[in-house]
């Protein structure tokens, strides 16, 4: 456990409740994706952990250090990549990155800065002024700044919002490389595919509440569940005795049978089932399959939260 968030609440001046009691434990070395729509509280959560906003209630500790009382020790461990491209436009790339290292109290280390800039393909641009860079390059500079002081935890707030596909893939590679180095990474996103691609765990946040935190693998298993619906020519009252092994459900007032199966299993049993349905004397009208996606789970959770 590297970050421990207990019943964190944040009410802004004017009464807006951005966080309504978030409790979350972040494990060392993991990649946690916080998924949620705009205005869900993702940025407020990150801002409160990093010291940009003060919590109204509850507590956050980073590496065992309270982020308010022991802010120096806590913040020293954290690198933050903000959502907006906030950079000093007139300064050189190498200067803004070196500045960040100094600000975090670390001794100058040009070799380390070079390593970071090279890793992010920024070394060629080190003497360029920030304003001369493309949007994607600027985002890399933000990451370089966050990494300049060798943090153990990296927060990425919507790192790939408005970024082209190629750069997004690059960003994921950088994240994977950092994980190799043992850095704990928390990223917010509203792209489900991003969470799927790189996260170890996924948290869903909406309306200032954490609705779910789950291992991605477990979520993916739910994703693997498919449902086969067989529409019948004539309705049935009950599942025929011969089909009892399939654990079928009667749907649509007896006009359909539903079968749940796992695509990741060795055999889905569909062929056998269809054969046995016709052997039982039932006439098929149509068949359809549906898959529960992370998107469905997500949308379902968000709707529940809103209701």
């Amino acid at each position: 456990m590297i970050v421990d968030i207990k019943d964190l609440r944040k009410t802004y001046k004017g009464g807006f409740e951005a966080l309504k009691g978030v409790t979350l434990v972040i494990k060392e070395g993991e990649i946690l994706a916080l998924l949620g729509p705009n205005g869900a509280g993702k940025t407020t959560l990150i801002s409160t952990i990093c010291g940009i906003t003060n919590p109204s209630a509850g507590s956050v500790s980073v590496g065992g250090h309270d982020v308010v009382k022991d802010y120096r020790a806590a913040r020293s461990m954290i690198g933050l990549v903000p959502q907006e491209i906030n950079l000093e436009p007139f300064n050189k790339v190498i200067d803004v990155v070196t500045y960040s290292r100094g600000l975090f109290g670390k001794k100058a280390n040009p070799a380390k800065i070079e390593e970071i800039l090279r890793q992010l393909s920024l070394w060629d641009k080190k003497d360029s002024r920030v304003m001369e860079l493309s949007g994607g390059m600027k985002r890399r500079v933000l990451i370089a700044k966050a990494l300049s002081h060798e943090p153990r935890i990296l927060f990425l707030d919507e790192p790939t919002a408005g970024v082209d596909v190629e750069l997004r893939k690059d960003m994921w590679d950088v994240v994977a490389a950092l994980k190799e180095q043992g850095v704990t990474i928390i990223l917010t996103t509203h792209y489900i595919e991003e969470a799927e691609a790189i996260a170890d765990r996924v948290g869903v946040i909406n309306g200032g509440e954490l609705l779910l935190v789950e291992e991605k693998a477990a979520l993916m298993q739910r994703l693997g569940q498919k449902t086969l619906q067989v529409d019948l020519q004539a309705p049935v009252d009950s599942v025929p005795e011969s089909l009892s092994a399939y654990n079928l459900e009667i749907a649509e007032g007896g006009n359909a049978l539903r079968y749940h199966y796992d695509t990741s299993g060795e055999s889905t049993g569909i062929t056998r089932l269809l054969g046995e349905i016709s052997a039982a004397g039932l006439q098929l009208k149509d068949i359809q399959t549906e898959q529960s996606s992370l998107e469905d789970i997500f949308v379902g959770l968000v709707k529940e939260g809103a209701a």
């Binding site: 010291g51 802010y71 933050l80 906030n86 000093e88 500045y99 109290g105």
Partner: protein
Amino acid sequence: MNFTAVWAIYYSEMVRFFRTIAQSFISPVISTSLYFVVFGAAIGSRIDQVEGVSYGAFIVPGLIMLSVMTQALSNASFGIYFPKFIGTIYELLSAPVSFLEIVLGFVGAAATKALFIGVVILVTASMFVDVPVTHPWAMVLFLVLTCVSFSLFGFIIGVWAGNFEQLQLIPLLVVTPLVFLGGSFYSIAMLPPIWQKITLFNPVVYLISGFRWSFFGTADVPVGLSLLAIFGFTALCMGIIWWIFKTGWRIRA
């Protein structure tokens, strides 16, 4: 104390200054020369002496004070306002730095720039007139304290300002008039009696008077009072900044 961070802020602010070193250097030289042409040569030729000092020399301390105060104000207010404006303030807030360290970095840099400009003006002025410095240590003390206190004041304005207009508002509407009416170019003794009383409510009078005393040994108000004023003003600004950071006013939500 995170001195590395103080240095990082200070250095980065000074880089901005040195990037525009030509302007930073040339503009005070030109404006000082212009003041000398207008006040020294054109008007000054009709004024014999003020308190036993030639008018040209008499206005030097006021000129330095005028520039130092406005420069300290604008540098410090811009220094902290700019990160707020472009959003880079996030980094200061999420860094392991105390507010004292942030203030030291920004105010230190702004005060250094103002001090530099003050010295440039003094040197430029010495080329036009003979400027005696009777109490050099007192002169340095007044100069440095003015640089620091007005940089602190500028820092407050920068934190308070919500846009560029507000950033200009206080320097333009309050400070410039107070400095001009604070005896930069005249001795209080030259005013009608009633204005001699009213002008004592202007805090800048004490600063300019004390600073002028360090040059010529004569003052409009007692030097002790001037020292008290400058220390009082510095303490007041520090108190306000302490409060700003304690409450997070306009900085941390």
